[in-house]
């Protein structure tokens, strides 16, 4: 009977979109570092922790207003409790476990084993409960009972709780934890030295009336202070035998410090590349929109430079680590991943739908570009793909791979050669406009409804008339270009005006088209 209820509830929850949506939302909020709202949640929690620690520290010697105490004891602690319970909830999927067990038992034609599944659920949840971060979370809730003096020590756990929300602190702990074995060995070495020296110093000094070391605790205290090279000087050996022990422990102390320093340094050195890569991936996830360049070639460097010059962001993905280093030296955001592998894009956490303006495939062979295009198309059907074509006969293959724009440089150069030999000046003029180095630009302005209404009126203003060249208007409705348009042309929202002029004149033109309407 109970089993049937449990299975029924599990199926209900599993089928409920609202329940799944809520769980996914909280999972993202608490555990998914790429979720955009997680950082706001983390910052809020960090602020609460800082406020709470401040109140508790301040309260040690001074009076705190009752409202603040209430806020700290109840509001903050309750928020922490809710957070703890939410983390416990999202840690595993109970309904999925119940359904799996039910279907398993059904398949084997045996009764549903409620106890087995409950045991499994408790086991899974206890993994969370006994994890170090969950223990800190739980203990951090304790200042709720701050009236009890002993429990004030739990304030420490609120500080520790900061680790959960600070990635660099998490990294620090993870780096040190990669050297567990070394730290254990060091700890055992230090432990043996401390134990032996404590016993020895106690034996040598305890019976001497001039010696300040009279108890075993004082002996241990002296050993710890000495081995870690602090040496307060409040307890010192006075007998020759005791001083002999001190000399040995001082030498051992240097070894302990040197050993621990080298462990920390080597841990950081080994993880340095990983840390840098994590930082780069983090930087990429923070970029709102960018061009993704696949393959770092001299052409890719030129393309990236041009985009950066116009204020656009570029991310480069390249398999060869030497080329990645070159790209980074040039100041580009470059990642050492294979652009043709799905795994790369999952690892980098690129969102093709929202972040990538277009992917530019500039590998040194058509084969690689086709393979990369198919990989990207598997992730996103909509992202714009542009590829360089190396051999004319492969054009169709690139099209079939879903590439939207194909650039065949050789053909382009052929066309330009005709131009440069027939109309050299015209070629120079167009080339200068395209390279944007002459101070005069050719720009396209997508007209919104306000701009479309004011278009002709603005072109007639003295400052633009005869100075800003309106080459024409591209009509979206008819997909045709109207050269040197007259007032009789109906300019509508979405149409594109092509103008030639200096940057400041074009910017002024755009701004005046929009400003006039508001008057």
């Amino acid at each position: 009977m109970i089993g049937r209820w449990i299975v029924g509830i599990a199926f209900f929850l599993s089928a409920s979109p609202r329940y799944r949506h809520s769980k996914k939302f909280f999972h993202n909020l608490l555990e998914n570092p790429s979720y955009p709202y997680k950082k706001f949640f983390d910052y809020t929690m960090m602020i609460l922790i800082v406020i709470s620690v401040y109140i508790l520290v301040h309260h040690v010697k001074y009076e705190v207003k009752p409202d603040w105490l209430f806020f700290n004891n109840y509001v903050i602690s309750v928020i922490f409790l809710i957070e703890y319970l939410l983390r416990l909830w999202v840690y595993s999927d109970n309904s999925k476990a119940i359904i799996e067990q039910y279907e398993h038992d059904l398949f084997l034609q045996r009764p549903f084993k409620v106890l087995t599944v409950l045991h499994h659920i408790v086991l899974t949840k206890s993994k969370f409960i006994f994890s170090p971060s969950a223990i800190i979370d739980l203990l951090a809730i304790m200042p709720f009972f701050h009236e009890m003096r002993l429990l004030r020590v739990f304030i420490l756990f609120r500080v520790f709780k900061l680790f959960r929300y600070t990635k660099s602190l998490q990294q620090f702990v993870s780096i040190l934890s990669s050297k567990k074995f070394e730290f254990l060995t060091l700890g055992m070495f230090a432990g043996v030295i401390i134990t032996v020296s404590s016993v020895l110093i106690y034996v040598m000094e305890a019976n001497n009336p001039d010696s300040p070391i009279n108890t075993l605790f004082e002996a241990v205290y002296w050993s710890v202070v000495t081995i870690f090279t602090v040496g307060y000087g409040d307890f010192v050996p006075v007998t020759s035998e005791g001083r002999m022990v001190a000399m040995v422990i001082i030498v051992a102390g240097i070894a302990v410090i040197a050993f621990s320093t080298s462990i920390v340094v080597s841990a950081f050195t080994e993880k340095l590349d990983e840390i840098k890569e994590d930082k780069l991936i983090d930087d990429v996830s923070k970029v709102d929109q960018f061009y993704l360049v696949c393959g770092y070639t001299p052409l890719a460097a030129q393309v990236a430079h041009r985009f950066l010059k116009t204020g656009k962001q570029v991310i480069i993905i390249e398999t060869n680590h030497k080329k990645v280093a070159e790209a980074q030296k040039e100041g580009f955001l470059a990642l050492n991943y294979n652009p043709a592998s799905l795994h790369s894009y999952h690892a980098i956490r690129i969102n093709f739908e929202t972040q990538v303006i277009a992917a530019i495939l500039l590998e040194e062979s058509d084969v690689l570009n086709v393979y990369t295009a198919l990989t990207i198309r598997e992730i996103s059907k909509n992202v714009q793909l542009l590829s360089i074509l190396h051999h004319h006969e492969n054009r169709r293959k690139l099209s079939l791979a879903g590439i939207n724009e194909i650039v065949y440089t050789q053909e382009l150069i052929g066309l330009m050669s005709k131009e440069v030999s027939g109309r050299p000046v015209a070629f120079e003029v167009i080339h200068a406009l395209r390279s944007e180095n002459s101070g005069v630009f050719i720009e396209e302005i997508v007209l919104d409804s306000i701009m479309a209404n004011q278009f002709f009126e603005t072109t007639k203003l003295t400052m633009f008339h005869k100075r800003l060249i309106v080459l024409g208007v591209y009509k979206q409705s008819s997909k045709s270009f109207f050269f040197n348009p007259s007032n009789s042309l109906l300019v509508e929202e979405g149409d594109v005006a092509i103008v030639v002029g200096t940057r400041s004149l074009i910017d002024e033109f755009k701004s005046l088209m929009r400003r006039k309407k508001r008057r």
Partner: protein, 233 residues
């Protein structure tokens, strides 16, 4: 300047495309290659190619072409070879128009120093086109149509004749769009000079005989303006 002959040096993918585009434009056209494999590639594409090496004294050019109406394209595989070819041609033919291909900026500067009249830096051109296609797709489409397609809209350069009605006038005195349905993009003093100035940067230029106007307009409008200016075809 009207040329009657053209030579393409090399027969890689770039040279092939250049040859395919310009061969129909010239009554006399030749391909010079450095090895047999290029020669056969040229033959497969329908061109008879002659062999040459970089130590040539180029008497063959004097014998077969008129250097005063010849234009050459240096499109060898390596930039260093192209520089050497350019400098060796320039050492013999002082006024020969040489158009050379370069991979990057560095080589382009060397080609200029070697005496090339125009250098097409392939990487820079491709990078410009790629960024333009993505950032200004409509501009790319319109410019492509104007430059390379058989559309009625054309870009042209018109040299101002001695007795033209424009001589002595300022550019800004004329409403080119209204009067002639053309737009003047730039003006230059001498045809092969690179010193043109964009009209958008200022209209104070005084029109003199032999100035060159770079205009965009429909075939008919350009023809009408040329006729009004007294340009002899």
């Amino acid at each position: 300047m009207n040329y009657h002959s053209a030579i393409v040096f090399g027969f890689n993918e770039y040279a092939k495309q250049i040859a395919l585009q310009i061969a129909p434009e010239y009554p006399s056209f030749a391909v010079f290659v450095m090895n047999e494999s290029e020669r056969s590639a040229a033959k497969a594409a329908g061109f008879e190619a002659a062999l040459f090496d970089l130590g040539e004294d180029w008497r063959v050019i004097d014998e077969k072409f008129d250097p005063n109406s010849l234009i050459v394209f240096c499109a060898l595989d390596k930039d260093a070879e192209n520089v050497f070819l350019t400098i060796s041609l320039r050492s013999i033919f002082e006024n020969l128009p040489i158009i050379a291909l370069a991979g990057d900026h560095e080589s382009a500067a060397k080609m200029k120093s070697a005496g090339a009249n125009k250098v097409m830096a392939t990487q820079q051109i491709t990078a410009n086109i790629i960024t333009e296609m993505l950032e200004k797709p409509t501009v790319t489409e319109v410019l492509h149509d104007i430059l390379y397609e058989q559309s009625f809209l054309k870009i042209a350069q018109i040299t101002v004749p001695e007795k033209c009605f424009l001589v002595g006038k300022h550019l800004h005195e004329i409403d080119w769009g209204e009067e002639f349905d053309i737009l003047v993009l730039a003006i230059v003093d001498h045809q092969l000079s690179a010193t043109f100035s964009f009209t958008s940067k200022g209209h104070h230029h005084h029109i003199d005989p032999n100035d060159v106007l770079v205009v965009v307009g429909y075939d008919d409008s350009i023809a009408a303006l040329s006729e009004a200016m007294g340009v002899v075809k």
